[in-house]
């Protein structure tokens, strides 16, 4: 992923761009080179394990969001709905089905190979289960299922960890051995995990840089680019380590220069509002949506969406000394796998730690995992943080549910309210 409008691209962006291009080149060439690929999900992804078998990860969620950014999803969703997929269900799934039916052209315009394996890491979202059942029917590919239990009480019990580790040993690793034709190499896995932890340290530094005033980053819109490598095919690679080092250096520079975040339309000159954001962004009108914030001088200083692929700022790191246990804990700890009370506490903590003026929930129609309970979250976080919450509704990749005028109105009223509160507080 790259921020396209900046004329002078930062080193980190160029690195990311190159990494992505190479990855999709390899995927496109896979039918000729014989490289094997594994479709899997962002939450609970086992990238290091796949890499240790030299398998190429494919993330259908990311393909869907990229399709939305390229303006393709209206058509894809319509294809899926015509095939009988309900208008009520997650649009990521329908976009993916529509993309497949349209030739499986991925984000770089190249054709994606059919999956050699569907690694169903069932973490934090029920839809995943059905999504890969649907793909299994379409591709006739084998499925390896990893059931990751939910954390209703905000803690990982030994029973949960053992259950996941046992599945890794008995089901997942043998399935990867079969597909790759290689034996499990724990030392190689450890090497990848070591690299993951290094990149994770730098990512956390970047995300926490938003505690500065002004924040040098936008931790929602901007940060979706920052989490790109670590949430997708690159965690555990040298490339990701180098990317996060470069990114960290750039952000450190921005802090030194007292700069605010970059947006598609340039730097935010004055940080007027600091907000925490819950929920995924809308991808079909991503830049328009971002601009609605940027025009008001609103900067996201923390977000939960950037934790769906791992809650690293709470301290978790992949640990090469306990490879499978650490992968299990990683899966168990992803944001949407956390109980509502934990999510609420996390948001309230963000509001406090990042000295936010308020928080906003973007509730997406597609996603019960995120959205069911968000009105309760709204009230509870308000209560605990003492800061006002705002609530907007859209969808991830279905343009029919992005009502720009409506959302803009709501945001403007919300920011006005923050302003009045501030003035009232100052009086």
């Amino acid at each position: 992923m790259t921020i396209p409008t900046k004329s002078q691209k930062d080193d980190s962006q160029l690195r990311q761009k190159t990494m992505i291009a190479r990855h999709f080149d390899r995927l496109a060439a896979a039918p000729e080179t014989g490289e094997k690929n594994v479709y899997t999900f962002v939450p609970g992804n086992l990238t290091e394990l796949l890499l240790s078998f030299d398998l190429l990860p494919v993330l259908p969620e990311i393909n869907s969001l990229q399709s939305a950014m390229r303006g393709k999803t209206a058509e894809y969703i319509s294809i899926a709905e015509k095939l009988g997929h309900s208008e009520d269900v997650c649009t990521y799934v329908k976009s993916d089905i529509g993309m497949m039916k349209s030739g499986n052209i991925g984000p770089t315009g190249q054709r994606l190979p059919n999956p050699d394996l569907l690694l169903l890491s069932y973490t934090g979202c029920f839809t995943f289960l059905k999504w890969f059942e649907l793909l299994r029917e379409e591709y006739h590919a084998p499925v390896a299922m990893l059931h990751v239990p939910y954390q209703p009480d905000g803690r990982i019990t030994p029973a949960m960890r053992d259950y996941v580790v046992k599945q890794l040993k008995d089901d997942i690793i043998p399935a990867l051995e079969r597909i790759s034709g290689r034996a499990y190499d724990e030392d190689k896995l450890r090497e990848h995990l070591k690299l993951s932890a290094q990149a994770e340290d730098d990512l956390v530094w970047v995300l926490q840089s938003a505690k500065h005033k002004p924040s040098p980053i936008d931790a929602y819109f901007g940060a979706v680019y920052y989490v790109g490598p670590i949430f997708s095919a690159f965690r555990g690679t040298e490339g990701a380590v180098a990317y996060y080092q470069a990114l960290r250096a750039e952000i450190a520079e921005r802090i030194r220069e007292g700069k605010g975040p970059v947006t598609p339309d340039g730097d935010i000159e004055k940080e007027r509002f600091r907000v925490v954001v819950e929920g995924p962004p809308n991808w079909t009108s991503f830049r328009q949506f971002w601009k609605m914030f940027a025009d008001e001088g609103a900067v996201a200083v923390a977000s939960t969406y950037t934790k769906v692929g791992g809650v690293y700022d709470a301290g978790f790191r992949h640990d090469p000394s306990r490879p499978l246990e650490s992968l299990a804990e990683y899966c168990l700890g992803c944001y949407t796998n956390l109980g509502l009370p934990t999510r609420i506490e996390m948001l309230a903590q963000y509001v406090r730690d990042y000295e936010a003026d308020g928080f906003l929930i973007n509730s997406v129609k597609s996603c019960n995992s995120f959205s069911a309970g968000q009105l309760h979250i709204l009230r509870e976080v308000e209560k605990r943080s003492g800061k006002p919450g705002g609530f907007i509704e859209s969808d991830l990749v279905d343009p029919r549910y992005f009502s720009a005028a409506n959302i803009k109105n709501r945001l403007e009223s919300y920011f006005q309210m923050l302003e009045q509160k501030r003035l009232g507080g100052a009086a």
């Binding site: 997650c90 029920f126 059942e133 509870e380």
Partner: protein, 392 residues
């Protein structure tokens, strides 16, 4: 011929009254009589035997109908989320569920999952347990995990004031629930053979009542019902289409919808309603380690469901088997609006029935749907077309 004023109608009315009673009078009476705890559970399945063995009354919470005014529940849920969580919240916040000492939330979808967290916060003095269920069905993997979940459930009930876990008591409870499951199976089998004798609108009321009253009473109710319909000569076959209804395993349709389907010319010969007493498909052995027997039954003898990951065999094979067994001539895909498990599964289920040449139609409902005109027309046309085809 009318059955009004007969013992049969009295029995159905009793079930109807229990189904309609949002304030759970029978549960309150039971508690007053026995001093025991009562713990609610959300769809689809929890091992009620464990609760029963520890002296706890399991109480199925199946949402509401269109006569429950949602005052607070809508403030908790967006319009694009199914109805059952908001009616459950409404019932809870309005005090109607106060007689419950806790609620169990089995892992069937993200809505129920997130509701468990809300319940924890809204009712901090009650027992709230998310009951995770394995999607891995190997005894040494998923079985071990599930065993731990069940042991924890038993422990948490004791912590709450229930009797401690006792293997002998659990064996006895399994025996009682086996008897109840047998009765339900018998009734389903009878309906398949002679659907005119067991209108689904009656069976449904009995099922709804059966999740609220004690297990022996439920068994007795089904037994009595079977005896009474056997005596009832007024129930004669009509020219109706035999259909299987699928998709309604969590949020339940209003009784009016079922009546509408029957009036539109359908004999419902199999369905997904209130599956808790059918989830385990045969008797659970009452010897050995009873907790482990519950685990094994869950792993090896549970119904196929869109909420479970099934990796063996052809997708939809269970559905086809049920269609064949019940000799259904068509399928009604009847799912709640916004229900992820049902609606994500549906395209695959549709393909399966199409592969086997079974006609189908689909519609959605909400538990508070009050208007059935469109569904009546759709089901009527569907039933007519089935009858037409079977006549040629």
């Amino acid at each position: 011929m009318s059955t009004e004023g007969t013992p049969l109608s009295a029995l159905v009315e009793r079930a109807d009254a229990i189904y309609r009673d949002y304030s759970l009078a029978t549960v309150r009476d039971w508690k007053a009589r026995t001093g025991g705890l009562a713990v609610g559970f959300m769809p689809i399945y929890v091992p009620c035997e464990i609760l029963h063995a520890q002296g706890v009354l399991p109480v199925g919470l199946m949402g509401a109908r269109d006569d429950l005014e949602i005052i607070k529940g809508d403030a908790y849920y967006q319009s694009y989320i199914c109805h059952i969580p908001r009616s459950t919240i409404e019932l809870g916040l309005s005090g109607r569920l106060d007689c419950l000492d806790g609620v169990l939330f089995p892992a069937i979808c993200d809505v129920i999952r997130n509701l468990s967290g809300m319940w924890q916060m809204l009712f901090p003095d009650k027992l709230v347990r998310y009951l995770d269920v394995p999607q891995n069905f190997e005894p040494e993997i998923g079985g071990r995990f599930y065993r731990h979940e069940l042991d924890e459930l038993a422990r948490s009930l004791t912590e709450r004031g229930a009797r401690p876990y006792d293997a002998e008591a659990l064996r006895a409870s399994i025996g009682l629930y086996n008897a109840l499951r047998r009765e339900v199976r018998e009734l389903y089998a009878l309906r398949q053979r002679e659907p005119w004798k067991v209108p689904t609108s009656e069976l449904y009321l009995l099922l709804r009542a059966s999740v609220v009253i004690p297990v022996q009473d439920a068994t007795q109710m089904f037994r009595e019902y079977r005896a009474l319909i056997a005596e009832d000569a007024s129930r004669v076959p009509l020219d109706q289409a035999r259909v299987m209804l699928t998709g309604s395993f969590c949020e339940q349709p209003p009784i009016g919808l079922i009546r509408t389907l029957e009036r539109a010319g359908c004999y419902i010969v199999d369905d997904d309603f209130v599956q808790v007493h059918r989830w385990i498909q045969s008797d659970i052995p009452t010897d050995g380690d009873p907790m482990q027997q519950l685990v094994m039954a869950f792993l090896q003898d549970a119904m196929a469901s869109p909420t479970r990951y099934i990796d063996k065999g052809e997708k939809g094979a269970d559905l086809i088997l049920r269609i064949r067994r019940s000799q259904a001539e068509g399928v009604l895909f009847c799912a709640p609006s916004f229900c992820d498990p049902a609606l994500l599964d549906q395209p695959m289920a549709v393909r399966a029935v199409e592969r086997h040449g079974v006609p189908w139609t689909a519609f959605k409902y909400s538990e508070n749907t009050g208007q059935f005109q469109v569904i009546r027309e759709q089901a009527g046309t569907f039933a007519d077309s089935i009858k037409l085809w079977s006549a040629v």
